[in-house]
């Protein structure tokens, strides 16, 4: 019964989406306020019905109702509660449900909180949002229905893939989806503005909080996925340039560009046409990402061809939405008025530079991800595009971006003073040069570019601090006054500084962990020692332990400093899951400051020896801490008064009442 209710609720949501997608638009055309005001309640109702459908699926999972095919295939009654819940989105159908849940959630948020803009814009935007929702409701109902029943219900489910039985599954997918589905709001507002044919600086002010929120979620979503991969895979890699990762990185890059160009649009009224295009492109990249991972095209162009229903459906969604949006843009954009003049050396100029490099970086990820697919589909020739390609193209684009980054916030709007900014960054540059020299001196072997990377990272971090120091007149006025100014600074200024600082941290972590990490691969018998960095690891034996739905074989290792001081014990394990007859590697991590020791276990040999891999990853935690700082920066900026209050309302009504003269 529950499953049928869920199915029915989803169909009703489709119906509501169709109403929400048409009536408000008719209203804006006929200037009918009643029809326009239908947008908000239908958006809320649509979200309520999708939430109901999702809840129905959740109940099926939690109660282990194996008469539902989707539950049978992806769950097991022995699993802990949390994994029974998270396995909802550990499969295709369920993750599409999460997708539409988040999409309609954002629609509902706009319905409730989007009252600071004109009603026409809101009505149009919610209508566009409803078209997207309708397309995906239809996709689920026609090709990926999670509510299908099995005539004769089995007693036990097939279990969730063991690798997914991890707390990472609880956080990573929802955050990632909040991020890239969240960009749909910017898309809808862009289309709404194009439909209306009017775009002003205030548009950026309404859209920026939504972009910022989505960007924050995507940032931690990607970082969380990276950390998950890092600790699960058994060798400590954190980024692989895999198409699936690229699918989430592309919207992030475009979204970051959008965030910056929207600032220019809001403050200076410039870059309007470009910002609208970026808003369209960012969500289009989210859709392309969904297509890449959902259609099966990545597995093989041939799988896609043999079971094309899902793939073709999403491809159709892509063509209609991206094609339609770009066509509308091509038609309307020339009619929009450009505004806001600025000199090349200015805050605007710096942000344009940011946009040029970010979009080019995004394009290089895009071509690297899709070119092999396109080449194979068109000519049948197979080539591989892997990490060496991306490192060779993405790196050179990102480094100049980071070098210029500290200059941006120090430049004035309209016409900046490059020399002045450079003078103010002198301390940061000296610090960076010192760090570079130190890294170069301390480096024993290792890539020659690494000290340079460290220098850039330090420059970015010190540059972010310089920005705050400049704004608070640090060292120029008494500390008490500095404190007052620091509190008085707009939160968005703090947000910028935090986000930039965080990116510097991430870069530092990446450089240090890849260039100066060390690795030991060895077969050990009980009592053997292995030295790494300034630690000595001793193997003391194997033992086993029974978990709820798995069995662990655990290796016990004692970690000491070289002088013999005991630091702790590491217990990596091999975890076997009988239901699927699979084994996973559970690496042991030991955090030392922001560096980590990483130990993973291979199969024990017949003689009782174990193959093991031991890594020392210097500063590796900075990669993800940097993302957390970026998130904090976003949150600070989001809490800025300017964004909360919204555009000033004309006080005509009051003025009219006042007696003249």
């Amino acid at each position: 019964m529950t499953a049928e209710l869920g199915h029915y609720a989803l169909m009703l949501a489709l119906g509501l989406a169709l109403i929400q997608g048409t009536m408000p638009i008719v209203g804006t055309r006929t200037n009918d306020a009643v029809l326009m005001s239908m947008a908000a309640p239908t958006a809320l109702a649509q979200f309520a019905f999708v939430a109901m459908a999702f809840a129905a699926l959740a109940i099926c999972y939690v109660t282990s109702d194996f008469s539902v095919l989707n539950v049978f295939e992806n769950s097991n009654s022995q699993m802990p509660f949390i994994y029974r819940l998270t396995s909802i989105w550990g499969n295709h159908e369920g993750s599409m449900m999460l997708w539409v849940l988040i999409l309609t959630f954002f629609g509902a948020l706009v319905a409730v909180f989007g009252n600071n803009g004109p009603i026409v814009l809101k009505a149009n935007a919610l209508a566009v949002q409803a078209w997207i929702a309708a397309a995906f409701h239809l996709f689920i109902l026609m090709t990926s229905n999670p509510f299908v029943r099995i005539p004769q219900a089995p007693f036990e489910g097939r279990d969730l893939n063991p690798i997914l039985q991890d707390p990472g599954l609880a956080f990573h997918p929802p955050l990632l989806y909040l991020g890239y589905v969240g960009f749909s709001i910017a898309f809808s507002f862009a289309i709404a503005a194009l439909l209306e044919g009017r775009i002003d600086a205030a548009w950026a002010r309404w859209v920026r909080p939504w972009v910022l929120g989505a960007w924050m979620c995507l940032t931690v979503g990607i970082a969380g996925g990276s950390y998950w991969a890092y600790y699960t895979l058994g060798w400590g890699g954190f980024w692989f340039w895999d198409p699936v990762e690229n699918a989430s990185l592309m919207p992030w890059l475009a979204g970051t560009a959008l965030l910056h160009s929207a600032v220019v649009m809001e403050k200076r009224g410039a870059l309007k046409i470009w910002t609208i295009l970026l808003a369209i492109l960012t969500f289009s990249l989210s859709l392309i990402g969904t297509f890449l991972v959902r259609s099966g095209v990545l597995t093989s162009v041939h799988t896609f061809a043999t079971d094309p229903m899902r793939g073709v459906f999403i491809l159709a969604i892509l063509v209609v939405f991206i094609g339609g949006a770009l066509a509308l843009y091509g038609w309307r954009a020339p009619m929009l008025k450009q505004g806001g003049l600025f000199a090349p050396i200015s805050r605007e100029g710096a942000l344009v530079f940011n946009n040029l490099f970010l979009t080019t970086a995004c394009a290089s990820v895009f071509i690297g991800t899709l070119y092999p697919l396109a080449l194979e589909a068109l000519s049948g020739e197979k080539i591989s595009v892997g990490p060496p390609f991306f490192n060779a193209t993405f790196g050179p684009l990102f480094i100049p971006l980071m070098v210029v980054m500290p200059f941006g916030p120090l430049m004035g709007w309209k016409r900046g003073d490059l020399l002045g900014a450079a003078q103010r960054l002198l301390a940061a540059a000296i610090l960076a040069a010192l760090a570079m020299t130190a890294a170069f001196a301390l480096e024993q072997g290792g890539p020659a570019l690494a000290p340079f990377g460290v220098g850039v990272a330090i420059f970015v971090m010190a540059g972010a601090i310089t920005d705050i120091a400049e704004r608070t007149l640090f060292l120029r006025v008494p500390l008490r006054a500095v404190w007052r100014r620091a509190i008085g600074l707009p939160r968005s200024a703090w947000g910028t500084a935090f986000a930039h600082f965080g990116l510097g941290m991430t870069l530092l972590g990446i450089v240090a962990a890849t260039a100066w990490g060390s690795e030991r691969i060895a077969e050990m018998k009980v009592g053997d020692n292995l030295d790494i960095a300034h630690y000595r690891v001793t193997f003391t034996g194997l033992f086993s332990r029974q978990g709820p739905n798995y069995h662990d074989v655990i290796g016990r290792f004692i970690v000491r400093r070289m002088n013999g001081d005991l630091i702790g014990v590491m217990e990596p394990s091999r975890r076997s899951f009988p239901t699927r007859n699979m084994t996973t590697t559970e690496a042991a991590l030991m955090t030392r400051g922001v560096s980590q020791l990483y130990l993973s276990l291979g199969d024990p040999t017949q003689t009782g020896n174990v193959a093991m891999r031991l890594y020392f990853k210097p500063l590796v935690l900075l990669i993800w801490l940097g993302a957390a700082i970026m998130f904090t920066g976003g949150a600070l900026s989001l809490s800025d008064r300017r964004l909360r209050v919204g555009a000033p309302q004309p006080a005509k009504a009051k003025a009219a009442l006042r007696p003249a003269g």
Partner: protein, 159 residues
């Protein structure tokens, strides 16, 4: 195994293939310089039965064979380029994770720098045009606007 997790990043779960990272202790060369070169080469070579995994990361039997092969060639005195040529001759361009520049890959390699170049040119042109506009004197008020301004000024001074 890497593949499965990565697909979860986008939430597709495929049939799992398991690995516990690749290079095994018994494969490694005694000579640390050669071994380091072998690792470097391994990272540039694709395990052809896996998806986007280098032979350095994959535990597929084919990847093992290729790792051993790379090490044999190195011990036989091949240079890095010779090893890559040897593998390309045997398995085709598909084995390289960084495709070589050719007509087939011209778009792939050309797009990033090309886009940067085009973007820069467009921006320079736009900046030049803006400079022109910035130096133009702001257009004066029309007679109509002038009249309105006078009216507003008169009103506000009268109040």
């Amino acid at each position: 195994m890497r593949r499965v997790l990565l697909l979860v990043l986008g939430l597709v779960v495929l049939t799992p293939a398991f690995s516990w990272a690749a290079v095994q202790p018994d494969e490694m060369l005694r000579n640390p310089v050669l071994e380091a070169r072998a690792r470097g080469l391994s990272q540039q070579l694709r395990c052809m039965v896996c998806q986007n995994e280098s032979i350095d990361d994959s535990d597929a039997p084919l990847a093992h064979d290729l790792r051993v092969l790379v090490r044999e060639r190195l011990q036989a005195g091949d240079s890095d380029a010779q090893v890559l040529d040897f593998l390309v001759a045997r398995y085709g361009e598909f084995v390289l994770l960084k495709p070589r520049l050719s007509w087939r890959t011209a778009i792939l390699w050309g797009l990033p720098p090309g886009l940067l170049l085009i973007g820069t040119i467009l921006l320079v042109v736009a900046a030049a045009r803006r400079r022109g506009r910035m130096q133009e004197p702001a257009p004066g008020l029309t007679a109509e606007e002038q009249a309105r301004l006078q009216k507003i000024l008169a009103q506000s001074s009268g109040s």
